[in-house]
Protein backbone atom coordinates (compact mmCIF):
# COMPACT_ATOMS: atom_id res chain seq x y z
CA UNK A 1 0.00 0.00 0.00
CA UNK A 2 1.25 3.46 -0.78
CA UNK A 3 2.59 5.69 1.93
CA UNK A 4 0.17 8.58 1.67
CA UNK A 5 -2.92 6.35 1.97
CA UNK A 6 -1.52 4.93 5.20
CA UNK A 7 -0.79 8.49 6.34
CA UNK A 8 -4.35 9.69 5.67
CA UNK A 9 -5.91 6.64 7.34
CA UNK A 10 -3.62 6.89 10.37
CA UNK A 11 -4.32 10.60 10.87
CA UNK A 12 -8.08 10.02 10.66
CA UNK A 13 -7.90 7.03 13.03
CA UNK A 14 -5.91 8.83 15.72
CA UNK A 15 -8.00 12.03 15.44
CA UNK A 16 -11.25 10.09 15.72
CA UNK A 17 -10.06 8.05 18.67
CA UNK A 18 -8.87 11.19 20.48
CA UNK A 19 -12.28 12.82 19.95
CA UNK A 20 -14.09 9.70 21.21
CA UNK A 21 -11.85 9.70 24.28
CA UNK A 22 -12.46 13.41 24.93
CA UNK A 23 -16.21 12.80 24.75
CA UNK A 24 -16.07 9.98 27.26
CA UNK A 25 -13.76 11.96 29.53
CA UNK A 26 -16.28 14.80 29.52
CA UNK A 27 -19.04 12.31 30.32
CA UNK A 28 -17.06 11.10 33.32
CA UNK A 29 -15.72 14.39 34.67
CA UNK A 30 -18.18 17.26 34.04
CA UNK A 31 -20.17 18.48 37.05
CA UNK A 32 -23.89 18.15 36.25
CA UNK A 33 -26.12 16.31 33.80
CA UNK A 34 -26.75 19.16 31.38
CA UNK A 35 -23.05 19.76 30.81
CA UNK A 36 -22.41 16.02 30.70
CA UNK A 37 -24.96 15.72 27.88
CA UNK A 38 -22.84 17.90 25.58
CA UNK A 39 -19.70 15.77 25.63
CA UNK A 40 -20.91 12.50 24.01
CA UNK A 41 -23.44 14.04 21.64
CA UNK A 42 -20.88 16.33 19.99
CA UNK A 43 -17.36 15.00 20.49
CA UNK A 44 -18.24 11.33 20.13
CA UNK A 45 -20.26 11.93 16.95
CA UNK A 46 -17.32 13.80 15.39
CA UNK A 47 -14.92 11.06 16.46
CA UNK A 48 -17.12 8.34 15.01
CA UNK A 49 -17.32 10.28 11.72
CA UNK A 50 -13.50 10.45 11.55
CA UNK A 51 -13.14 6.72 12.29
CA UNK A 52 -15.71 5.76 9.65
CA UNK A 53 -14.08 8.04 7.03
CA UNK A 54 -10.80 6.26 7.75
CA UNK A 55 -12.57 2.93 7.21
CA UNK A 56 -14.07 4.19 3.90
CA UNK A 57 -10.64 5.26 2.58
CA UNK A 58 -8.93 2.04 3.67
CA UNK A 59 -11.58 -0.35 2.30
CA UNK A 60 -11.76 1.60 -0.98
CA UNK A 61 -8.01 1.31 -1.57
CA UNK A 62 -7.79 -2.30 -0.40
CA UNK A 63 -10.65 -3.56 -2.53
CA UNK A 64 -10.11 -1.37 -5.58
CA UNK A 65 -13.72 -0.15 -5.66
CA UNK A 66 -15.47 2.83 -4.06
CA UNK A 67 -16.91 1.59 -0.77
CA UNK A 68 -19.37 4.05 0.70
CA UNK A 69 -21.55 1.90 2.94
CA UNK A 70 -19.76 3.01 6.13
CA UNK A 71 -21.19 6.45 5.43
CA UNK A 72 -24.60 4.95 6.28
CA UNK A 73 -23.55 4.62 9.93
CA UNK A 74 -22.15 8.18 9.93
CA UNK A 75 -25.38 9.54 8.51
CA UNK A 76 -27.46 7.52 10.95
CA UNK A 77 -25.44 8.75 13.95
CA UNK A 78 -25.59 12.35 12.72
CA UNK A 79 -29.38 12.10 12.50
CA UNK A 80 -30.05 10.22 15.74
CA UNK A 81 -27.62 11.96 18.15
CA UNK A 82 -29.63 15.23 18.40
CA UNK A 83 -32.89 13.30 18.79
CA UNK A 84 -31.42 11.27 21.66
CA UNK A 85 -29.98 14.41 23.28
CA UNK A 86 -33.34 16.16 23.08
CA UNK A 87 -35.19 13.23 24.65
CA UNK A 88 -32.59 12.91 27.42
CA UNK A 89 -32.71 16.64 28.19
CA UNK A 90 -36.51 16.50 28.36
CA UNK A 91 -36.33 13.52 30.71
CA UNK A 92 -33.79 15.30 32.93
CA UNK A 93 -35.99 18.42 33.09
CA UNK A 94 -38.93 16.26 34.07
CA UNK A 95 -36.91 14.56 36.82
CA UNK A 96 -35.79 18.00 38.14
CA UNK A 97 -32.07 17.18 38.15
CA UNK A 98 -29.64 19.59 39.80
CA UNK A 99 -28.06 22.44 37.84
CA UNK A 100 -24.51 23.54 38.65
CA UNK A 101 -24.33 26.90 40.41
CA UNK A 102 -22.34 28.74 37.76
CA UNK A 103 -25.08 28.31 35.14
CA UNK A 104 -26.22 31.64 33.74
CA UNK A 105 -29.92 32.39 33.32
CA UNK A 106 -31.20 30.18 36.11
CA UNK A 107 -34.60 31.88 35.98
CA UNK A 108 -35.25 30.29 32.61
CA UNK A 109 -34.25 26.89 33.97
CA UNK A 110 -36.59 27.33 36.93
CA UNK A 111 -39.42 28.32 34.60
CA UNK A 112 -38.78 25.29 32.45
CA UNK A 113 -38.77 23.01 35.47
CA UNK A 114 -42.15 24.18 36.66
CA UNK A 115 -43.89 23.31 33.44
CA UNK A 116 -45.69 20.02 33.23
CA UNK A 117 -44.39 17.09 31.24
CA UNK A 118 -45.73 16.92 27.68
Amino acid sequence: MEFWIELIVSVFLVTGAVFVFIGSLGLAKLPDFYTRLHAPTKATTLGMSCLLIASVVLVSFRGGYLSLHELLITLFLLITAPVTAHMLAKTAMHHKLDIVDRTSDKELAKKARERMAP
Binding site: M1, E6, L7, V9, S10, V11, L13, V14, G16, A17, V18, V20, F21, G23, S24, L25, L27, A28, F33, R36, L37, P40, T44, T45, G47, M48, L51, L52, A54, S55, L58, V59, R62, G63, S67, H69, E70, L72, I73, F76, L77, T80, V83, T84, M87, L88, K90, T91, A92, H94, H95, L97, A117
Partner: protein, 89 residues
Amino acid sequence: MLSIAATIATTLVCLSLILNLWRLFKGPSRPDRILALDTMYINSIALIILFGIFSATTLYFEAALLIAMLGFVSTAAMCKYILRGDLIE
Protein backbone atom coordinates in the same frame (compact mmCIF):
# COMPACT_ATOMS: atom_id res chain seq x y z
CA MET B 1 2.36 2.87 10.62
CA LEU B 2 -1.24 1.77 10.12
CA SER B 3 -1.00 -0.97 12.73
CA ILE B 4 0.51 1.46 15.26
CA ALA B 5 -2.28 4.00 14.62
CA ALA B 6 -4.94 1.29 14.89
CA THR B 7 -3.43 0.08 18.18
CA ILE B 8 -3.44 3.63 19.59
CA ALA B 9 -7.06 4.11 18.47
CA THR B 10 -8.15 0.78 19.99
CA THR B 11 -6.47 1.67 23.29
CA LEU B 12 -8.20 5.06 23.43
CA VAL B 13 -11.61 3.55 22.59
CA CYS B 14 -11.19 0.88 25.27
CA LEU B 15 -10.25 3.56 27.83
CA SER B 16 -13.35 5.53 26.92
CA LEU B 17 -15.47 2.37 27.32
CA ILE B 18 -14.04 1.98 30.84
CA LEU B 19 -14.91 5.64 31.61
CA ASN B 20 -18.46 5.05 30.33
CA LEU B 21 -18.76 1.95 32.50
CA TRP B 22 -17.65 3.97 35.53
CA ARG B 23 -20.32 6.57 34.80
CA LEU B 24 -22.89 3.80 34.28
CA PHE B 25 -22.22 2.36 37.73
CA LYS B 26 -21.77 5.67 39.55
CA GLY B 27 -24.29 7.90 37.77
CA PRO B 28 -26.37 9.69 40.38
CA SER B 29 -29.59 9.70 38.36
CA ARG B 30 -31.35 7.53 35.81
CA PRO B 31 -30.80 9.86 32.80
CA ASP B 32 -27.06 9.69 33.57
CA ARG B 33 -27.13 5.93 33.27
CA ILE B 34 -29.10 6.07 30.02
CA LEU B 35 -26.60 8.58 28.61
CA ALA B 36 -23.72 6.31 29.64
CA LEU B 37 -25.36 3.35 27.86
CA ASP B 38 -25.96 5.50 24.77
CA THR B 39 -22.29 6.48 24.65
CA MET B 40 -21.27 2.87 25.27
CA TYR B 41 -23.06 1.60 22.19
CA ILE B 42 -21.54 4.33 20.03
CA ASN B 43 -18.08 3.41 21.34
CA SER B 44 -18.74 -0.26 20.70
CA ILE B 45 -19.50 0.62 17.05
CA ALA B 46 -16.06 2.27 16.95
CA LEU B 47 -14.51 -0.89 18.42
CA ILE B 48 -16.20 -3.09 15.80
CA ILE B 49 -14.99 -0.80 12.97
CA LEU B 50 -11.45 -0.98 14.37
CA PHE B 51 -11.67 -4.78 14.55
CA GLY B 52 -12.73 -4.79 10.89
CA ILE B 53 -9.67 -2.64 10.03
CA PHE B 54 -7.40 -5.04 11.93
CA SER B 55 -8.75 -8.19 10.30
CA ALA B 56 -9.11 -6.59 6.81
CA THR B 57 -12.73 -7.65 6.18
CA THR B 58 -15.98 -5.74 5.75
CA LEU B 59 -17.92 -8.57 7.37
CA TYR B 60 -18.57 -6.66 10.59
CA PHE B 61 -20.27 -3.68 8.95
CA GLU B 62 -23.75 -5.17 9.28
CA ALA B 63 -23.18 -5.81 12.99
CA ALA B 64 -22.19 -2.17 13.46
CA LEU B 65 -25.28 -0.95 11.59
CA LEU B 66 -27.54 -3.23 13.66
CA ILE B 67 -26.01 -1.97 16.91
CA ALA B 68 -26.53 1.64 15.77
CA MET B 69 -30.20 1.14 14.91
CA LEU B 70 -31.15 -0.95 17.95
CA GLY B 71 -29.18 1.33 20.27
CA PHE B 72 -31.10 4.37 19.11
CA VAL B 73 -34.43 2.58 19.46
CA SER B 74 -33.58 1.29 22.95
CA THR B 75 -32.45 4.74 24.12
CA ALA B 76 -35.63 6.33 22.84
CA ALA B 77 -37.71 3.60 24.52
CA MET B 78 -35.93 4.00 27.87
CA CYS B 79 -36.34 7.80 27.78
CA LYS B 80 -40.02 7.43 27.00
CA TYR B 81 -40.43 4.87 29.77
CA ILE B 82 -38.90 6.94 32.56
CA LEU B 83 -40.57 10.10 31.25
CA ARG B 84 -44.13 8.76 31.17
CA GLY B 85 -44.01 5.44 33.04
CA ASP B 86 -45.41 3.67 30.02
CA LEU B 87 -44.28 2.87 26.49
CA ILE B 88 -47.51 2.55 24.54
CA GLU B 89 -50.43 4.41 26.00
